[in-house]
Symmetry: D2
Subunit: 367 residues, 4 copies
């Protein structure tokens, strides 16, 4: 990997570069045994730093230009409600997570993003002062450490996201903001275009979508955000970090409504070839910060970097262990496997589930 | 985790204990960016020891009682043919892999198994002397390190497996041997029952099946092995390390014949609940060494340990981050997710693929 | 079957009665060997009257209150273009079809509807005079015979349908008009609500949807028509004669775009239980003329009559050979078949296709 | 249709001709409103002769060389048990059915086969004398009319079928005998090869399989029968009349065990193109009497005749309304439909079900 002195996130985006984001932490660490589903809190940053560090490294190696701190749901109110982390404070987790992200980011040319997410307090109180105090506390933890910018992510209500942006903006660093909403808009019915306008007016430098729905749906939503900004005469960079799962039947509330959530989503996982298509469509839509959320593993992030290798001019380190479009199968001993060492094969393949008694679509809980 | 002084593999099996095996290395490390598909060689043990160490740890934490050395395809003839590892010798990989396995095994109560697998030499030459020399060389690498027993695995021909067993037996440690065959028998048509007899007569203490086919198919094959042994008046322990993928349409050659192999197998991945069923059926069949191969991640291994917790008397460390049968969903904010916090829900669920344009079964390449 | 002197279609609908329509002719007679797919012309009325008569009888026996003349595509311009019927004139077919419909209608209490459908002339010329002359000629054929009312059906453009209505209205009998459009509107983009308004203003007494899309989609479109009429302060009866096939992925152009059209639609055929649901939803939407189009066989029409038996006060003749909701299975020799003699079983059943290598959804040709 | 003086069934088969059988009566007449599912008795021959006559005609027109009398389950013991036909005797039905079959057969060059099927008496009593008396009575009804040969069909036990053959043989006409068994053998475990031998030794001139399982499975079973005959040094003609449904998951008891039986089998219906494949495979297996059973409609029978047109030298009458392999779509107005006017398109098509919430395979009741 060629080392470059890291330039800032806005410097890169302003220069028209593609920034590859990292993938999903909580679901992957749940499978590895370090996060408890249902709680989804990030105490592993303190309890098992080696596991978090290794996952950061995989994303870095796969091409990620940003390492997000593993601080999802790490506000004091959420940690208390979940009751899952009795002996560790939010501040301890936030600080440990910053150290881990920084350590790994420095192994490459990556930036560290300090991340905040939606709070139980917002839904309970709608009290701007209280909610903002929570974001302020988490931001202060981050500012004790060396981070490069902030991301406010996983917000169902643009109002709360805008509050987060207003707080983070006081930290003196660039701010990205992503909502986990569908093309229909946020939970209060605010359409994506208007959501984008509100976030930019609150101070966000980068806006977009993360989690809850599959990549192609999220691209559609970001396009609506972009159109809203253009109509309002505003400018901002666009980012996207969608699910790594197919969710064609999902409505407004996303994959939480699927019967398979969260313990039987395997069948819905995207292949690396699905990600190629996603990366191309996101790029064509003008999005330049392209990553993933739940379900995105290292090989999915590598697929983003490989799909956009021509535009970016280089491949990620992990591509040394990957023949593009299956090229490494050329030397397989079985002729029928060798026949799969080409792009057309994988692009056209419709993968079978091996589950003839399962349906292909489910009834979401909110239908 | 309660520490016990590790007892030997035969000591445990003779006492009627359930030994939980580890999961699959090469496919998981391929996804993490450290193994090249098509080659599948284990140079990561030297190049990226932190990645191999972390995967060992995940399996240990999930309940594995055995850590297999990451030495798949690590015979000199295979390394040379694959051409993927120009600057590292097989001996270097074997020794590094032993060190990694030992380091992690010592963090728990686990044993280290030194593993050999099928050689290109066998298919090319059928020369017993040459093939045995290859196994001898790899065994000698292992014997420089502290390992607990040997496993000869992933053999399509019982003849080659028996040669491996004969060599490993000279190492003075217990030997397990698994074939990657279907209920129809090995590639020369030797039925499973006769395969088992040959392996035991060659000196194997534990015999069974690994890789190539899904868990329930592999259980069927081990049952045939068991019946063959009983008919011959022989005794041996039984082991199983099947795929973590659904392969109902596969014939003799297993998942290599599937159109999805190796880059679009996501849809076929087993859920943790599929593994519960598998662990129970394996146990009921009298198999006491129960693990996984390609497709088995840490959470699948944990599912084996959780399904057999009553028989074994304890849960694995990683269960501290897992509510049994979804129990941790009880406190979810969405009522429809809370409704999933019970065994019946997950046992009955038929997961949808979210891919309405994909079939449920494929045409294997050998059909 | 109790004979009643037939009352007129408007008399019935004005009294709030449910009028059961008949099913599809051309596709069923294609399967029986009397209609040529691709041409879909109705020369069988002359060539094989016994086949048309028998199909009329099946629908009558299944509960149909209306027998449509088998005169689909029977305009002179269409017959000429299709080139399928060299020695028979349109007038001969129209007259023979009227006789057949009348003969069978008189065996019950049914009415005869003389039917016209879209013309090639409209698309070629958009010439109102020419197109109207074609409808006038076909109407004159009908008026030589004793028919009860007219139906203008299978129109993709509301403009052409309105012209047909204007002509038929001069015949001095009630006129029904159905479009084969989606909820998005007609081929010129006129939304369903406005289509309904135009048809009623042209003189239609009954308006609705037929063919091209599955029942639940067609119910949605009729609801939009109803809403349009209400908004315009207009009144009309509503009718529906949808496909008997599942077409969830179809867009504007309907089932013609499906890869399975017209020779592999079997898998998409509705069960009788699907029709129960449809009949209930159509009824709940305020539709009172409820029948079917392509894919609706006699047992589907019977299912409409059986679902609405309570509202109508009687069962159709063919119900003497049908246990409601499978009741006749009670005396089956196999216990597992007896267990199917109840409503809940059939309502909940998700029928398998027995085709594990086929997808569940297709890519329509216009996507 | 070219008229030839009908030659006998054995004369035709001995000359190496392909004899096309007719399709299924009871299921088709159930859908048309004349047969009651669960009872499946043939009183329609008396009650609604026009409906039976028309279905005979469709099969004749589609190419059938044999018209089977509509006398399924028409033994006195079965009629009494079913309780469905209080005022009509078995003799009345048998005689009416012979008249209908003869009337239609004479419209073409077809033969009439008088058909008997399994009796409740056999299962209840296993009394050879009583069972044979039942067959004798039905045969005597047939012999009052002009029929050409007998078929004993739908037998689950070869013993009962052999008794039927022994009785029918005394009628002085050729006898065909078909079992509704799987490749595993009859309900007493007698394998297909031995079944064939017993039937031929009992006097059958033609032996084979009908109903219960899909065409390709039935071809496999007939092959086993053929092999059994060859091994025993016996000769007989082979016949086959399988289901027109896909039943890949069925075991011994056939489609009765499917959850979809009998009211939701639509999704499993074969396309005409499936039948082409079946007809070819049956022909290649040496079977020369090729027809269908439940699920076979006229267009399926036509597909047999069209697939074997080159071997037979002529097309059936109904082919005048059918472009071979979709040829008549060449003049369709939509370009994407025109693109379907060729064999390759239909041969390769994997039809979608339009039912994304349904599985592709079911769990049979006997699994």
């Amino acid at each position: 990997m060629e080392r470059k002195k890291p330039r800032g996130i806005l410097e890169r985006l302003n220069a028209g570069e593609v920034v590859v984001g990292d993938g999903g932490y909580v679901m992957q660490l749940e499978r590895r045994g370090y996060v408890k589903a249902g709680h989804w809190t990030p105490e592993a940053a303190v309890e098992h730093p080696e596991a978090v560090r290794q996952l950061h490294r995989e994303f870095l190696r796969a091409g990620a230009n940003v390492i997000q701190t593993f601080t999802f749901y790490c506000s004091e109110d959420k940690l208390e409600i979940s009751g899952n982390v009795p002996n560790i404070t939010g501040a301890q987790i936030n600080e440990a997570a910053c150290d881990l992200a920084r350590e790994v980011a420095n192994e490459g040319e990556a930036l560290v993003a300090g991340c905040v997410s939606k709070t139980p307090c917002y839904v309970d109180t709608h009290n701007e002062t209280e909610v903002k105090a929570i974001f302020k506390k988490q931001m202060d933890d981050f500012l004790k450490k060396e981070i490069d910018f902030f991301i406010a992510e996983f917000f169902e209500h643009v109002e709360e996201a805008a509050w987060a942006v207003e707080v983070l903006k006081t930290g003196g660093k660039p701010v990205g903001a992503t909502l986990c909403i569908s093309p229909e808009g946020d939970m209060h019915g605010v359409p994506p275009g208007e959501c984008a306008v509100r976030l930019v007016r609150a101070g966000a430098d980068i806006v977009g979508i993360n989690c809850h729905l599959d990549p192609l749906t999220c691209v559609r939503t970001v396009k609506l955000m972009k159109a809203g900004l253009e109509k309002a005469g505003l400018k901002a960079h666009l980012m996207i970090q969608p699910l790594g799962f197919h969710t064609p039947e999902c409505n407004h509330s996303g994959y939480l409504t699927l019967p398979e959530f969260p313990f039987a989503l395997e069948t819905r996982a995207m292949t690396r070839w699905d990600v190629h298509q996603y990366a191309r469509e996101a790029y064509n839509a003008g999005i330049r910060y392209i990553g993933g959320c739940c379900g995105f593993e290292a090989y999915h992030i590598r697929a983003i970097a490989e799909e956009l290798a021509a535009e970016r001019g280089f491949l990620p380190p992990a591509s040394e262990k990957h023949g593009l479009w299956g090229a490494a199968l050329e030397m397989h001993t079985k002729p029928w496997v060798r026949a799969r060492s080409r792009r057309e094969y994988w692009e056209k393949l419709l993968p079978a589930s091996g589950r003839p008694k399962c349906p292909s679509m489910a009834t979401p809980a909110d239908e």
